[in-house]
């Protein structure tokens, strides 16, 4: 399938008082039509900033370099007014807290219709009809009634649906969802993930799902990308990473996640704490916590290299990942 988004060599740096911090380094990935890519990693690993930079939404002290090709335009470094013609139309983003992206003083209908009027040049009637249709499509009961509500009159799950509806109105090629279900209850989360699956199928939208929950990934993602310390450390098809992880960090994450069907006596967590980006360890950033490290890891940073055909990892260790083997 055709690639809709090709990201190449993406770096994000933030200027601090008297230093700078690199939140994302050398990120490369492609996203195919209709595909779901999960971006996984712990807090502070650079997941959000990578995609905010693609959307041109970095904080003022942030700077992005590299390329993010949406078709044949590069979104990185694009002037804000030109970005506006793509944002919301070709590429859209939704966040964990829908309230921050909805205007509390406007009716749902008004906010959503405006998107269509601006990007598609619809007249008001046509826009309103399209809005109702989309609200129904994302599973909002009584869409005509709800369209006239204000955001605070809806529950958290409803608001997240409204956000998804808004993001999908212009049938964007790429939808970026940053922890879209983290604040929701499991039963609502399940409905939401179901909805994502259907929508990517029906609209051919490529979905980037940013999350720290491997359970969410397993259910919906085709491919996944694991980030640590601002870099991608392993990526590949979801199944291969789950059943045959090759990076010690990916393995550690899997062993740290409790599983409702299996009651292990103990989890096998990764030791230690995630690094701060300002003081990334030398060599492999994961080495202070890695059970498989050896001399090379302390000095040289492993590059992200292909293993087999479909996957890549950034780790010097070539043996099998079994905890018992480690002395």
């Amino acid at each position: 399938m055709a690639d809709v988004l090709v990201v190449d060599d993406l770096d994000v740096t933030f200027a601090l008082h008297d230093s700078e911090v690199k939140a994302v380094s050398d990120l490369d990935f492609t996203l195919a039509e209709g595909e779901t890519l999960a971006v996984v990693g712990e807090s502070g690993s650079g997941k959000s900033q990578a995609f905010l930079s693609i959307m041109g939404l970095l904080a003022r002290n942030g700077k992005a370099s590299g390329r993010a090709m949406l078709g044949d335009v590069n979104l990185i470094g694009m002037a804000p007014d030109r970005l506006d013609t793509h944002r919301g139309k070709d590429i859209a983003m939704i966040f964990q807290d829908p309230m921050t992206s909805l205007n509390p003083t406007l009716k749902i209908k008004t906010q959503l219709a405006e998107v269509l009027v601006r990007h598609q040049g619809y007249d008001k009637d046509k826009a309103n009809r399209a809005v109702i249709e989309m609200l129904e499509r994302v599973g909002i009961p009584e869409p005509v009634k709800r369209a006239n509500a204000y955001p605070h009159e809806l529950s958290g799950g409803m608001r997240q649906r409204v956000m998804i509806a808004m993001a999908l109105l212009c049938k964007p090629k790429v939808l970026i969802a940053d922890e879209p279900t983290t604040a929701l209850d499991v039963t609502v989360q399940a409905q939401m993930l179901d909805l994502f699956k259907n929508l990517t199928n029906d609209f051919g939208t490529a979905l980037v799902l940013i999350t720290h929950d491997l359970g969410v990934v397993a259910g919906v993602a085709d491919r996944m990308m694991v980030m640590y310390g601002g870099r991608c450390i392993e990526k590949g098809p979801t199944d291969t990473l789950f059943y045959d992880p090759r990076h010690p960090y990916t393995l550690g994450l899997l062993h740290s996640t409790p599983h409702v069907a299996k009651r292990a006596k103990r989890l096998d967590p990764i030791q230690g704490l995630p690094p701060s980006l300002e003081h990334l360890p030398r060599g492999c950033a994961f080495h202070p916590r890695c059970a498989f490290r050896f001399e090379r890891c302390f000095e040289e940073r492993p590059p992200l290299l292909p293993v087999e055909d479909v996957r890549e990892k950034a780790c010097w260790y070539q043996g099998e990942l079994k905890y018992e083997e480690v002395a």
Partner: protein, 335 residues
């Protein structure tokens, strides 16, 4: 050895309402946060409490510890009702009953050092312990929860979430309690840190013979740590059973809905199963449905569910379930 059959804690007919003001002249609403809660906790076990946001989990934890006064019912600690104890006697009981909170940083006083925070319950609960001994106990407890002794003079904001949670755990442990209520102790933590804290809690439990009440909205986590699991919906117990029984053979439709909705970190299984999403939203705890409060979202609801409020029945295996149709329904996973 611990006597695992003794009832350490017994909750009887506990109810808690909150008055929500509706403006100057209107009568306040009654928000029914907990209704008619009955269960026991055996010495040495871990009782998990699950349910969706707002179902009353934290309120229940706080009522057990008398941080909130229940409106009705009794909380029996070793057979003695502690809901109406005079302040001083209750203070003595607090040595045995401790709590760990969800937000690790918010639960630590930002103006105190780690040492002062951990020592705080000792200072108030056991003034007879002198400063030197207090410090030694603080250091011993810090070691037990995996904090380095040199952290003792630091301030909370210098710590990450996982370490802050260890400080909170140390504070709960220092008075050598018998029961700790853990209110979402890992919900704010990263996956790898969450696993470290879960392991730590299970180690501490074995080491000190603790009894835990583990509150979480995450069924996977609860299932991992708990011996028995209590499921709350809109302030009522809908099911209480052994962890394995609950998972293999849920008796309440809500439990089943939760089980099918829990994300599974296993792609093949995740693709195979069909998610039985619940219809609709949680009703407001102010205007609860008549009869079975779950009926507005229950796919097995019948007419009579609106008329009778299902009682919490004791069924085989020492389980409890509150559904009038539990005998006819087969809710096993895959069924």
């Amino acid at each position: 050895m611990l006597d695992r059959t003794e009832d350490l804690l017994k909750i009887e007919n506990l109810s808690k309402n909150f008055s929500i003001s509706a403006g100057l002249f209107a009568r306040p609403f009654q928000l029914r946060a907990l209704q008619d809660i009955n269960f026991t906790v055996k010495r040495g076990e871990t009782l998990g409490i699950v349910g969706e946001s707002g179902c009353g989990k934290s309120t229940l934890g706080r009522c057990i510890l008398q941080l909130l006064a229940p409106d009705e019912g009794r909380v029996l600690w070793l057979g003695q009702d502690i809901t109406k104890l005079p302040a001083e006697e209750m203070r003595q009981k607090r040595r045995d009953l401790q709590i760990i909170f969800q937000d690790p940083l918010a639960s630590l006083n930002p103006r105190m050092t780690v040492g002062e925070i951990i020592a705080d319950p000792l200072r108030t609960l056991m003034p007879e312990v002198n400063a030197k001994e207090r410090r030694e106990r603080v250091l011993r407890t810090m070691e037990a929860v995996g904090l380095l002794p040199e952290m003792i003079n630091r301030y909370p904001h210098e710590f990450s979430g996982g370490q802050a949670q260890r400080i909170g755990i140390a504070r709960a442990l220092i008075s050598e309690p018998k029961l700790i209520v853990c209110d979402e102790p890992v919900s704010a933590l990263d996956v790898s840190i969450q696993a470290q804290i879960l392991n730590l809690l299970s180690d501490l439990k074995d080491e000190f013979g603790l009894t835990l009440i583990f509150i979480s909205h995450n069924l996977s986590v609860v299932r991992h740590v708990s011996d028995r699991i209590l499921v709350l919906y809109l302030g009522r117990i809908v099911e209480l059973a052994d962890g394995d029984d609950l998972y293999d053979d849920p008796k309440h439709p809500y439990t089943r809905a939760l089980l099918t909705a829990v994300p599974i970190p296993d792609p093949k299984r995740a693709r195979q199963r069909t998610i039985e999403g619940l219809v609709g939203e949680i009703p407001s705890p102010i205007n609860q449905p008549s009869g079975c409060t779950f009926r507005t979202r229950c796919r097995y609801a019948e007419e009579r569910c609106a008329q009778v409020r299902p009682p919490l029945e004791v069924i085989a295996g020492g389980r409890n379930v509150a559904c009038i149709r539990w005998q006819e329904l087969d809710l096993k996973p895959g069924a």
